[in-house]
């Protein structure tokens, strides 16, 4: 195996790992946030507007972690800086 093959195959495998691990944590966190918010709404339906707003903002912040992982996977797959370095 030459260097280019190694870099490409390691990039593909690590992109898959990045998505797997980077999706797991935020998914658990999103589920927890949603259940807590539903609990709070069930207990206090009149505050549902405020709770929903906080939930949306919080979910966006949690979700951005998964999005970072996604962007890193995309960089590894389509804009890998190491391949250009090897080919040079």
């Amino acid at each position: 195996m030459d260097a280019k093959t190694v870099v490409i195959s390691v990039s593909i495998i690590s992109a898959a790992i990045v998505m797997a691990i980077g999706g797991y944590g935020p998914a658990k966190a999103l589920g927890k946030a949603l259940t807590e918010a539903l609990d709070a709404i069930a207990r206090q339906p009149e505050a549902s507007d405020k709770i929903m707003r906080a939930l949306f903002v919080g979910m966006a912040l949690i979700e951005s972690i998964a999005i970072y992982a996604f962007v890193i996977a995309l960089i590894l797959l389509f804009a890998n800086p190491l391949i250009g370095y090897i080919l040079k």
């Binding site: 949306f56 951005s64 999005i67 996604f70 389509f78």
Partner: protein, 221 residues
């Protein structure tokens, strides 16, 4: 149709300026918004027509949302933030029209939006409480946290841009991949999901900008 076009493609160039397909789609979105607003506001009256009623409902909803979060006159923020909301919302939905590329699935566009939101935070903070009063909020709990405030200024702007970009790009990519696998009818639920995600992301972009503005202002009181 290329399968994965993450990067914008240059359609034509004027001298050193490359006009990409993102720019052309953005022009298309602007023309669409201006046309809709022009047609809907041509005959304004006290007894509103259907279109006028919809527009008024949108404006009032935005005003109410801003009033709930920001302890200021909402009309200080409504023109700018409302434009961001409507423009990002329309941009996110253009990907549903076949042949058009979502303008927000391009990192340059979302970074431009994030820079607008970044400068808006500081301009409104400074204009409402003066330069000194605004700078005071950086030492809010203690002086020790000053570097973290400065880092947060950068990271939250980058996060705004990357969040919108990643969401819209992933929606497009899922649609394209499913189209390659099954083709008929199966991508439709995912397109519906993409509509919801596009609108929610536009909402979240505005809400986060609003929360940042409020964070810079509340420090005074």
């Amino acid at each position: 149709m290329k399968i994965f076009n993450i990067f914008p493609e240059t359609v034509f160039s004027i001298g050193p300026v490359h006009i990409t397909d993102t720019v052309i789609t953005t022009w298309f979105v602007m023309v669409a918004i201006i046309t809709i607003c022009y047609l809907a506001t041509r005959r304004l009256s006290i007894k509103p027509s259907f279109c006028q009623e919809i527009l008024e409902a949108i404006i009032e909803a935005m005003e109410k949302t801003i009033k709930d979060i920001l302890p200021l006159d909402p009309w200080l923020v409504v023109p700018m933030l409302g434009t961001l909301w409507i423009f990002i919302g329309f941009s996110n939905l253009t990907g549903l029209i076949p042949g058009l590329k979502t303008p927000t699935a391009d990192l340059n566009t979302t970074f431009a939006y994030a820079l607008i939101s970044f400068s808006m935070t500081h301009v409104i903070g400074i204009s409402t409480q003066g330069l000194k009063g605004y700078l005071m909020h950086y030492k809010e709990p203690t002086w020790l946290l000053l570097p973290f405030h400065l880092i947060a200024e950068v990271t939250r702007t980058v996060a705004l841009a990357v969040r919108l970009f990643g969401n819209m790009l992933s929606g497009d990519m899922i649609a394209i991949i499913l189209l390659g696998i099954v083709g008929l009818l199966v991508p439709i639920p995912f397109s519906l999901l993409h509509i919801i995600i596009g609108l929610i992301q536009a909402y979240i972009f505005g809400i986060l900008t609003l929360v940042f503005i409020a964070g810079g202002i509340k420090a005074k009181s």
